[in-house]
C-alpha cells in the first residue's frame, strides 16, 4: 500500500481527508503511483499532470523521504520507504504568492 499526500485543494476535489492509500501493481514509480491514483480518483486527471503528455504541472512538485523527486524520470523507482508505505509520496503545490 502506497501513501500519497495531496495538497488541500486536490483533497477537496477528490473528497478525501488526510492521506490517500493506493495499491500499485508492480514497481512503484511516479508514473505507476499517479496512474493508480488517477484510476481511483478520476477527478484528479489533468490536475497533477497533463492529460496527454503526462508532464507534471508547472506549479506542482513531488517529494518523498525529504528528497525532491520532481525531476526524476517518471519510470524511476521511488524510494523503498515509499514502496513499502513507511513514508508517503507528497504532491506539493508551489508556495507562490499571487492574489
Amino acid at each position: 500500500m502506497i501513501r500519497v499526500v495531496l495538497p488541500a485543494h486536490l483533497r477537496t476535489l477528490a473528497h478525501v481527508d488526510g492521506e490517500v492509500k493506493i495499491h500499485v501493481e508492480g514497481r512503484a514509480t511516479q508514473r505507476s503511483v499517479l496512474d493508480a491514483l488517477e484510476a481511483s480518483y478520476p477527478m484528479l486527471r489533468g490536475t497533477i499532470r497533463d492529460h496527454v503528455t503526462h508532464e507534471r504541472r508547472a506549479f506542482l512538485r513531488f517529494f518523498a523521504c525529504e528528497r525532491d523527486l520532481s525531476h526524476e524520470p517518471p519510470d524511476a523507482a521511488l524510494p523503498e520507504a515509499v514502496a513499502t508505505g513507511a513514508e508517503p509520496f507528497l504532491v506539493v503545490g508551489a508556495m507562490a504568492g499571487g492574489a
Binding site: 495538497p7 485543494h9 486536490l10 476535489l13 477527478m43 486527471r45 489533468g46 490536475t47 497533477i48 492529460h51 496527454v52 504541472r57 506549479f59 506542482l60 503545490g93 508551489a94 507562490a96 499571487g98 492574489a99
Partner: protein, 371 residues
C-alpha cells in the same frame, strides 16, 4: 411567483444568490469551490437546475463542475480539452509564433434545447463542445482552421474566446468573440467561420480593412432581433444591423467608451447597458463614480444610472462576463465588480441595490429566471 437565481463566479469561488420576483431579499449560498477561480457558471435553458461551472487554478489547471439541483450539489466532469489535429501556432505578444496551449475555459454556453450539449470558449482561443453533459469535450476545429488563426494575438488577459452567442432564429448560426482577434460567425454550426470585423477601428491597427486583430471585449444581442449586435470593444461601443457584416460606432455621449460588459434589456431590443471605464491603462471607473449607462435608442444617446450606486471614491472594474439581465417585467439588471459587490436593479436600471458587498473579485454574473 417567479424566482431569480444569480450565478456568480469570483476569483475565489462560486456563489449562488436567490430571491423571489421582487428581487429585494436574497439568500446567498457559497463559496462553492472555495479558493479556485470560477470564470463562469451558467444554467441550461432546457433544464434550469442543470448548471455548469468552469473552475480553474494556476496550480491544478481546469476542472468542470456540473450540478443537477440548481447548485446545491456538484459533480466533477471531464476536463480534457485537447486541440483537434495539428496544434499549430498563433502569435505571441512579441510577434513570434507560439504553439496553441490550453489554459482555461472562459465561457460555457449551454444549448437552448439539450441540457447535455454545452459550448465552451477557451484560452488559447478555441471552440469546444460537449454532447454528453460535460463528460467529454471535442474541439470544433473549423474556427482555428481559419486562415487568419496563425496571426491571432492575445490581449492582456490572454488569447481567450470569451463570448458565445447562439442565434435563436438561425439554426447553426453562432457568433463568438476573441481577444484580440475579433468577432467570428458560423452559419453551419461551427464547421466554417468568417471574421465579422468590418467597420471596427482600433489604435495600433493602421489598416482600416484589417480582417482580424481587434480587441473585442463583449458582444450582445436581443433574442427577438438577433441580426442586431452590440459590442463593447477595447475602446468604442459599436452596433451591427446586419448580423456582424458591418459595424458602426454608437459611443455618442458616453464619458469614455472603454469598458468590458455590454448587455440588452430583456424586453426592449434597443435598450442597452454599458459600464464605462476610465481607460485601458487604469481599468477603473472615471471620477470615482460607479455609473451604468443606458441607451434607450440603440446607442449614441446614453444616460447615467446612479441611484443606489456609489458616487465617490469608487475605483472598481466590471469585467466582460459580469453583467446579465433577467426575464421579468420590469427587467432586472445585474452586475458584479472587482471589489466583490453584486448589484441588482429591479426596474431596468433606475434604482440599484447591492445584493452582496464583500465577495471576492467578481469575474462573471449570470441570471436565471425560474418559474
Amino acid at each position: 411567483m417567479s424566482r431569480i437565481r444569480v450565478l456568480v463566479g469570483t476569483r475565489k469561488g462560486a456563489f449562488v444568490l436567490t430571491s423571489d420576483g421582487k428581487r429585494e431579499r436574497w439568500d446567498v449560498s457559497g463559496p462553492h469551490f472555495g479558493g479556485w477561480e470560477i470564470y463562469h457558471v451558467k444554467g441550461s435553458p432546457a433544464d434550469p437546475n442543470r448548471l455548469y461551472a468552469s473552475q480553474s487554478s494556476s496550480w491544478f489547471g481546469q476542472v468542470i463542475q456540473r450540478s443537477q439541483d440548481g447548485g446545491k450539489t456538484w459533480e466533477t466532469m471531464g476536463n480534457k480539452f485537447v486541440y483537434d489535429g495539428v496544434t499549430g501556432t498563433h502569435l505571441w505578444y512579441d510577434g513570434t509564433p507560439r504553439p496553441w496551449e490550453f489554459v482555461r475555459v472562459w465561457h460555457l454556453e449551454p444549448s437552448p434545447s439539450d441540457p447535455d450539449t454545452v459550448y465552451a470558449g477557451v484560452q488559447d482561443a478555441a471552440f469546444f463542445r460537449t454532447t454528453d453533459g460535460g463528460q467529454t469535450w471535442q474541439e470544433l476545429p473549423g474556427l482555428r482552421g481559419h486562415p487568419s488563426a496563425p496571426a491571432w494575438q492575445p490581449g492582456a488577459g490572454g488569447l481567450c474566446l470569451h463570448t458565445i452567442l447562439l442565434d435563436p432564429s438561425h439554426p447553426g448560426r453562432i457568433f463568438i468573440a476573441i481577444s484580440s482577434a475579433g468577432v467570428f460567425r458560423t452559419d453551419d454550426a461551427g464547421k466554417t467561420w468568417r471574421p465579422m470585423n468590418r467597420g471596427l477601428r482600433s489604435e495600433g491597427i493602421p489598416d482600416p480593412n484589417a480582417e482580424v486583430g481587434h480587441c473585442v471585449h463583449r458582444i450582445a444581442m436581443h433574442r427577438s432581433r438577433p441580426s442586431v449586435l452590440f459590442m463593447q470593444k477595447h475602446w468604442d461601443v459599436m452596433r451591427s444591423d446586419d448580423a456582424g457584416e458591418s459595424w458602426r460606432e454608437i459611443s455618442g455621449n458616453l464619458p469614455t467608451d472603454f469598458g468590458f460588459p455590454i448587455d440588452v434589456h430583456a424586453h426592449e431590443p434597443d435598450t442597452v447597458y454599458v459600464v464605462p471605464i476610465k481607460s485601458d491603462s487604469e481599468h477603473y471607473l472615471p471620477d470615482g463614480k460607479l455609473r451604468v449607462y443606458r441607451s434607450r435608442t440603440g446607442g449614441n444617446e446614453w444616460e447615467a444610472l446612479t441611484n443606489g450606486l456609489p458616487q465617490r471614491d469608487c475605483y472598481v472594474n466590471v469585467l466582460r462576463d459580469a453583467m446579465a439581465v433577467d426575464a421579468l417585467d420590469p427587467c432586472g439588471v445585474y452586475f458584479g465588480t472587482t471589489g466583490g459587490q453584486v448589484y441588482v436593479s429591479a426596474d431596468a436600471g433606475d434604482r440599484w441595490a447591492a445584493i452582496v458587498r464583500d465577495l471576492p473579485s467578481v469575474v462573471s454574473v449570470e441570471v436565471q429566471t425560474l418559474p
